[in-house]
Amino acid sequence: MSERGPVLHADKRRALVLHRPHPTVEFMLRQFTQIGMTADIFWPDLPPDLDATGYGVLFFDADLGHDEQFPWVAGETPIPAVALIGSEAPGRIAWAIRRGADAQLLKPVTSGGIYSAVLIASEAFARRQALAAEVASLKQRLDRREAVAEATALLMLRDNSSPEAAYRALRQQAMAGRLSIEAMAVRLIALQQSRESRHDSA
């Protein structure tokens, strides 16, 4: 069965390169042209006001690289990143990983490697972003479990009902309001709090 190939989207076709002038960079530029990409090259630092989201991918030098070159902190690279590795010494690899490398390309770069590195880094980055978003949403729901318990208790008191009946009522209200149970719970608690504060001030 043939795989569907990954696609180099049109909006990803601009690369950011952080490397000193070197034959490796010239070979990279040739490859970029071949695969329909353009590149902006910076050294020794990325501009502090750089809008990286205008780029599809970052290639950064792992050999001479250091944290001060980047206008963002380690681990918060806003676009897919490819480490350009000359020395495979573990200290350098650890730094590249900490900077958020999604893929790597061994130097010297000559006539290949850019295309697959861009695709793999983009895919790894997208997967990482999706996972991070899902984890954030799950975390949020976990946080709201407390709200569900509190809202259930509120309804038990108001309706003088059992926990099961109160939870059923909460769920029905959520469905009627087209909200998640957690969101409806948060809303009920907020409503109760505003009532109490009106009562207090009266």
């Binding site: 034959p23 050999d63 020395s87 495979e88 573990p90 200290g91 350098r92």
Partner: protein, 397 residues
């Protein structure tokens, strides 16, 4: 500079074989580059003068003057101009990385004669110098037991210092020690007063010095002044240790460098007949090189191994010559030298040397047996290193 030919114009002929020689004699690591250059040229001159082999070697010499970006072009130039299939050269890892693409494109073999930080194993490179399990690990094993577990690390700001210090930190922490501080200075920088002040305040048990050239010299000299003012910082209490310190550098500082420690497979003061014969050869062909170190000897040995491999196979074949060095030991001035088949690195016996006031190193410890190179540190005993086997003793001399 003696009577050696620099950039000899001799054309290689049927009985003449070109050897590329690519070292920097200027720049921040010039003294090490000069040792490599003179070591290689001495062996070439010796082989030619004594008719050791049925051919003459012709040196194709280029000097990148410490400029990393110049190495690849000059390497290419050597090969194009002389047809050399072998290059003896490079001191820094950056320069070695620069020439590797040229070697790969042309099928040329680099004989790299210096210690380095490991994590490489290119098929086009023969690594004649020590890798970490032959330099920093045995050196640390020696000092951790005797001086304490809490060092300060200082190095030149590039891969050699970064990685050697990182390996040291791992090893120190595995043994229950604490790195009291770590400082890097730009290559060639001699402004190191702030580091001496940090040493004074933090009182480390020893100092690992991975500085290069003038920075290292400035540091050792300034540390001597500190020890002169406060005996707590004398080398017998808190030594400086280094994996890249040479006889020439120690001699330049004389008594100010005495007592500090280094590690190498060769020391000039070795009291053997083979070494005395070698030193006579060095004096004969490289009279300008007043002191020789492992950097000189390894370049010298590389040329001899190349020539012997050519003679053995009867042809100028870079890969066959490399394989000959794996199959047969060469009698180097420091003992039998063979290249490890799997890694292309030399099998070496590390020795710990302590500097004397005249710049020679006394051997204070030697590995029991030759150490197989482990450039990726996958087999090194650091994996099962014992934790503080015994209360350490300070060396009192």
């Amino acid at each position: 500079m003696g009577f050696l030919h620099w950039g000899s114009n001799l054309e290689p002929g049927p009985d003449k074989i070109a050897i590329g020689v690519l070292f920097s004699t200027r720049g921040s690591y010039a003294s090490l580059g000069r040792e490599g250059l003179h070591g290689a040229l001495t062996a070439i001159a010796e082989i030619n003068a004594d008719a050791v082999h049925p051919f003459k070697l012709v040196a194709a010499t280029r000097d990148p003057a410490g400029n990393t970006e110049a190495y690849a072009g000059l390497c290419r130039d050597i090969i194009d101009a002389s047809g050399a299939r072998f290059i003896v050269g490079c001191t820094t890892s950056w320069s070695r990385k620069e020439v590797i693409p040229v070697l790969e494109r042309t099928g040329t073999q680099l004989w790299y004669p210096c210690p380095y930080e490991g994590f490489e194993g290119n098929d086009h490179v023969v690594y004649v110098g020590a890798c970490p399990n032959q330099h920093i690990l045995p050196l640390l094993a020696f000092v951790l037991e005797r001086f304490g577990h809490d060092p300060l690390l200082v190095g030149s700001n590039y891969i050699w210092g970064w990685e050697t210090n990182r390996i040291a930190r791992e090893q120190v922490e595995r043994q229950g020690g604490t790195v009291r501080g770590e400082r890097f200075v730009p290559l060639g920088d001699t402004d190191i007063g702030h580091i001496i002040e940090e040493v004074r305040l933090k009182r480390p048990d020893f100092i690992l010095n991975t500085l290069i050239g003038p920075s290292s010299q400035a540091f050792v000299e300034a540390y001597w002044a500190l020890g002169d003012a406060d005996p707590a910082f004398a080398p017998e209490h808190r030594p400086i240790i280094s994996c890249n310190w040479t006889e020439g550098e120690a001699a330049a500082l004389g008594p100010k460098a005495a007592g500090h420690l280094t590690v190498a497979p060769y020391f000039e003061a070795a009291p053997t007949a083979a070494n005395h014969a070698f030193l006579a050869t060095a004096r004969r062909f490289a009279p300008a090189q007043s002191r020789v170190s492992a950097f000189f000897v390894q370049a010298y040995a590389a040329v001899h191994m190349i020539a012997r491999g050519i003679a053995a196979g009867g042809r100028v074949d870079a890969a066959a010559v490399r394989d000959d060095a794996k199959a047969t030991s060469y009698a180097a001035p420091f003992g039998p030298l063979r290249i490890h088949a799997e890694t292309n690195h030399a099998i070496l016996t590390p020795q710990i040397g302590r500097a004397r006031a005249d710049g020679a190193f006394d051997v204070v410890s030697r590995a029991d047996a030759p150490v197989v190179p482990d450039p990726y540190l996958v087999h090194a005993e650091r994996r099962q290193a014992p934790v503080r086997q015994s209360p350490y003793l300070r060396v009192v001399t």
